[in-house]
Structure formats: C-alpha cells, structure tokens
Symmetry: C2
Subunit: 371 residues, 2 copies
C-alpha cells in the first residue's frame, strides 16, 4: 500500500470478540468490514500467504456478520431475495448466493445457511444486508423476523487443517461436506462448525455463538494448534485472487449484476420460487451483459499488492474497463488481477493494457481461478 492511514477508534467501529487476542498475536493492519475492525495482516501479506498455503492458520473473521431470518415466511423470503435456487438447501447446509435488488444489482454475496425449516443465516460481505432485508420484509408485510445474532466466525484455513480439527472436535468433521455444518461445543463454548472459509486451501469456520467467549475460543485453538505450528492470519489478497474469490465492494458492487461475473452456476433465472430480480435478470440475460469480470495477467516486474482505487484498462488505447483487484502471485511469479471489461473483450487470450502506478503494462485475459 502506498499510503499509510491511521485509524481513530470508537464504538461505532465495533471490536470483534477476538480483537484483544489478535492484538496479542501481532495483528499489524486492519480494515473496517460491516462496521467492525478486522485484521488484514500479521507478518505482512506474503509471509501470511505462505503460512496459509503451506500449513494451517487461524483468522478473526467475526466481521463476517450473520443476518438471521426466521418466521413462517422465512423460506419464501430467502428465496425471494436471490436468483439462486434454494429449494434443495438442506438443514445443516450452506450455499453461496447473490442477494439482488429489483434491478438485479448485487446487494451482497453471502453464504446462506439453513438452520431450520424456517430459520436461516446470511453470512455476509460488507454492506448492511440487515437493513435491506428488514426494509423489504417490512414493505412486503411478510411474517419474518430479521436480526443480527451474537455470532462471530473464527476460521481455520490451510492444507493441514484436518489433524487440528480432529484434535479439537473428533473424527466426525472428516465427513462434513463443503458448506455443510453442525452445531457443537468446545470446552463449553457454543459453536456451529462449517466446512468453509474464504480461501481455497481447505478448512472450517467456527461460528462462535457467545461473544463473551472470544478469548477463550481463540486460546483453545491456538493452544491445540501449537503442535501443528499454527499461525494467525487473515483473508489474504494474494491467495484469494489466485483462487478466483471475488470481493464485494471491490470486484462487484450494487451497480453490477451477477451475470457480469463468471459465476453462472449460482444463478437459476428460471427457478420455481418467486424472486425480486427475475424480470431484470432475465431481460439482461436475453439482451446480453455489457461488461464481464475477467482474470488478467500483467507483464513485467512485481506490482504492488492491492489497488486503492481501480486502475484503467485499455484496448487499442480506448478505455474498456477497470482493474479492481491485483496481487503478485509468488507461486506463479506473475501479476494477477480481476478486471471488469467490455464483454466483447472478455475472451481468454485477449490482449489489453493497464495503466498502473508503475506505468503502462501489457495484460492478457486469463481463466479464473489462476491456480
């Protein structure tokens, strides 16, 4: 990052139940996410990256807040807010879904967890889904109750996650399928354990259901993790770009729609249940989307990790899009990025140029994920 910015703390910027623990563990930089402080690095982005991809790490992701939807119209409501077909979502299962408005604009892209026939959590990215959902439910007059429960995820991520998880919880975690979850406890700490997490290195999220026990959970995981040389880490910009994980607020916003992303399998535009964005998304789909989110590989020396504002993308000197996320991949030894470009320029292999803070660079549209 080129500019260093010091943050003034106040209660408006909430502290995670793990905040004190992350300070003790050496968290060096933070972001604000869902009105909450979230660590973004410990030993620096690249060192944290190697700890994540080579071994096992623990992350404070309490800022990934939950929006709980219950009531006799809860299932109907959750179907209504997304183009994803949730008709086969089982109790104990989660699914990635776009929350879309009447124009098809992306409000958020949570994991939707089904806790009961009529009880769901939306495990959200950085926008006030609570307000969107409550406003909409209020206007519709449906029988749903919507609130933010006292739930704060701690992630265990990295290829060596399973031995630690077995030590903590036993063998049953081996059989949890991706995005499935189970309610349990650890030394009396109430948890939901899900196979999930914002990396592709494998792992679990422990949804702490009592904010007063953050320190206790952190220390229990840290202590059990010692023999596996666990390290504190965070959602990692390098790894998530390598792995094709998009970030709401960066790679997609309210003015974008899901059809611009290479995530078509998460939209069932003809699904049986009624949903708010049906008309808009079907129209966009039949007319064709104007822009697409693509992967880019940029030539030349290693560029800075992360862009503070989008960089302009050109085709034959004509502005054709913006680069929204970038990292230098140590494993690929190349600069990899996500960009939104004219659909006609979105085919793999297309040659573009990008104006970076280090001058103009050649770029090639690439398949996602990069690894």
């Amino acid at each position: 990052m080129s500019q260093k910015v010091q943050l003034t703390l106040s209660d408006r910027l909430r502290k995670s139940p793990y905040f004190d623990a992350t300070i003790r563990a050496g968290a060096s930089t933070f972001t604000i996410y869902n009105h909450m402080l979230m660590p973004t690095s410990y030993e620096g982005s690249e060192k944290d990256y190697w700890n994540l991809v080579n071994n096992v790490t623990m992350w404070d992701v309490a800022a990934e807040r939950q929006v709980e939807v219950s009531g006799s119209d809860a299932y109907r409501f959750v179907e209504y807010i997304t183009p994803r077909d949730l008709s086969n979502l089982q109790i104990g299962q989660g699914k990635y879904a776009f929350i879309t408005d009447e124009n098809g604009g992306i409000i958020n892209d949570p994991i939707i967890l089904r806790l009961g026939e009529q009880r769901f959590w939306l495990s959200i990215a950085d926008s006030d889904v609570l307000l969107w959902a409550r406003g909409l439910a209020c206007g519709l007059g449906w029988d749903v109750q919507i609130h933010e429960p006292d739930v704060s995820p701690l992630a265990i991520q990295g290829p060596n996650n399973l031995p630690l998880m077995n030590d903590l919880f036993g063998d049953w975690v081996d059989d949890l399928k991706y995005f499935f979850f189970k309610e349990t406890e650890l030394n009396g700490i109430p948890l939901i354990v899900q196979r999930s997490g914002w990396s592709k290195q494998g792992g679990f999220e422990l949804y702490l259901m009592d904010g007063t026990q953050g320190d206790k959970l952190w220390d229990a995981v840290l202590s059990a993790g010692k023999k596996y040389d666990i390290k504190p880490a965070t959602p990692n910009n390098i790894e998530r770009i390598e792995s094709g994980l998009f970030s709401w607020g960066n790679d997609m916003k309210l003015e974008n729609n899901p059809l611009e992303l290479p995530l078509g399998k998460f939209c069932q535009l003809d699904k049986g249940a009624e949903y708010l964005s049906r008309e808009s998304l079907q129209r966009i789909n039949s007319e064709g989307v104007k822009n697409k989110v693509v992967g880019l590989v940029l030539s030349g020396d290693a560029l800075i990790d992360g862009c503070e504002s989008p960089w302009q993308v050109f085709s034959d000197k004509k502005l054709c899009g913006k680069l929204t996320s970038i990292a230098h991949s140590p494993r690929l030894n190349s600069n990899i990025a996500f960009a939104t470009v004219d659909s006609q320029l979105s085919e793999t292999g297309t040659k573009l140029t990008v104006e970076t803070p280090c001058g103009s660079r050649n770029a090639t549209v690439s398949d996602i994920p990069f690894i």
Copy 2:
C-alpha cells in the same frame, strides 16, 4: 486513543473527492464512515478544536453521503420513514429527523433536504440508508426512485465563517436561515450551499455535485481562506460533546428509539401523515421509556478523549447504564460525556459512578448542551 490501528486501503473503503487534498493538508488520522475514508484530525484533537472554536476551519465530510428520493410517491415515502412532521418542509429547507423502523429503532439520523415537491436528499450518518429505503420502497411497491448521487459535502465551520463565505459567494448567504440551502456554483463548480454543519460554531456546508472537482473546490476555499487563517479540521469529538451533538453508532443505535434521546421536538408522534413506527413509538411513549441518554460530568483529572468501547455506569454499585462518548472540555476544564442510563436515574444532579480505564470516577447527570 490507547491503541493505534493501521488501515489497509482498498476500493471498498472509498476515497473522498477531497482525499488527496486532505493528505496534502496533513490529515493524520481517519475513520471509515459510510464505506468512505474521512479525516478525524490534523494537528490533534485539541489543537483542531481551538482552530474550530476560535476562528474558521474547513472539513472533508464527503462521507456524509446523500440518499436521493424522487418519484410521485417521494413525499409520502419520506414522511413514512420518520416520526418527524415534514408537512411544512419547504423546497430549499432541511430538517433533522430520525429514520425509524417498525419497532421505532433508529436506522439513522439524517438531515432531510427538500430539493423539489417530490425530490429529497437524506444527508446521512454511518449506516446503509440506501439499502433500507430501497428495500422498503420495493416491498411497498410505491413509485419512488432511490439512489446515491455524486454529492460530497465540504464544511466551513467556526465563528469567523461569514466573511469567508461572503468573499466566496456574496452577501446573499447572510440571509440563509439555519438548514436552508440554495443551488449555486463557484468558478463553475456546481454546488448546493446550506447553512449547517456538525458543530455549534456556525457555518455552512458546500455540497459538491461533481466528484471530479474535489481538489478544485478544496483549493478555492483554502485560497480564499488564507486571509482569515483558515485551518483544515474535522468533526471534533470535544466540540460536538460540549454542544450536545449525538453520534449514530455511538450514542444511539438500531436498538435505541428516539424517545430515549432528549430530542423530543424532532418527533411528532401524532403527525397527520402515515409513518411506519407510529404504533411502536406511541406504545413506548405511553408505557414510558426504560433508558435515557443524559449528559455526565466526571470528576478528577482529564480523561482520554473518546472511548473505544462503552464504559459501565453504576448507581450504588449497581450497573445502570453505559457511557458512550467522552471528552475533556478545555473551555469547561472538566470531563464531559454522554451516557445511556435507567430513566429513573436521568434527572439532572443525579450522582453516579463510572468505571473508566483510569479507575472509578464520580459522575453527575448534567444538562445538555454543556456549553
């Protein structure tokens, strides 16, 4: 502040159109407000305070975003979301109002500006009112269009604001009444000029209506302000507590209702227009509110300016509330604070104690504003 926290920048944390100018001007700390970076100090909170109360200052408050409501149901909708009676809100006038949900909970506390018969801006505090309002309108099926326009306020605050404002805009600004506004321009920069701002030192807000001209506006004000020794500053925690200005996210949240605040004049529970929180607020009003926001004066040496998390408040060793904002007032030479306490303990003069990071302190309930 006891802990220093370094922020990782990304486009998700938006930059104000004045960001580069504030860095040049020496902004030393920031907060995140409505997903945007906002400076919180230049020379330190107390030095900034004296610049504000003694002379004239300029503030980047672009993070005070606007939510524009238009369409044939716009007036009906704006009445619907607040217990404030807006029936006599003139075109060219603003009013402070609580936005409340179906339970009377406070979503936000914006200034509502009327730009036309059926066109309004909500000039908001730190929550996604855009999502609440769009969700609600969507569910109701009313004819309103709701979006965030390209509008970024720059505040001119301090007792010596008028000579500078006259130099910039002419004599007509003298006649603008509090919260009234007028559309105008400065060197071709499109603006709305309103007599307003988040201090009680007097001043105006210049609503920049073209985000590409932030630098130009900043420099025009800075240049004209030189002869008045204008200083860059920010919303100031000391001054706003002295003046009785509450902060959404600190002194009030979604779980609070407007009747807990000493701001009854901004609620007309029997107003003629229909509004969402009528039933809840009338019930709370007749049953009596359980908690009240009060002023506190704390004994002893100067305490730290600001609390990162609420401090506990006791009456006869029994927990009775929480302190949510604190500053040491240089003009009063005392520690002043806002706290939420049991209603029965809210009378001026009531003796309480507060657990501070510097030990227990005696506290006395005080009238607001303090100055």
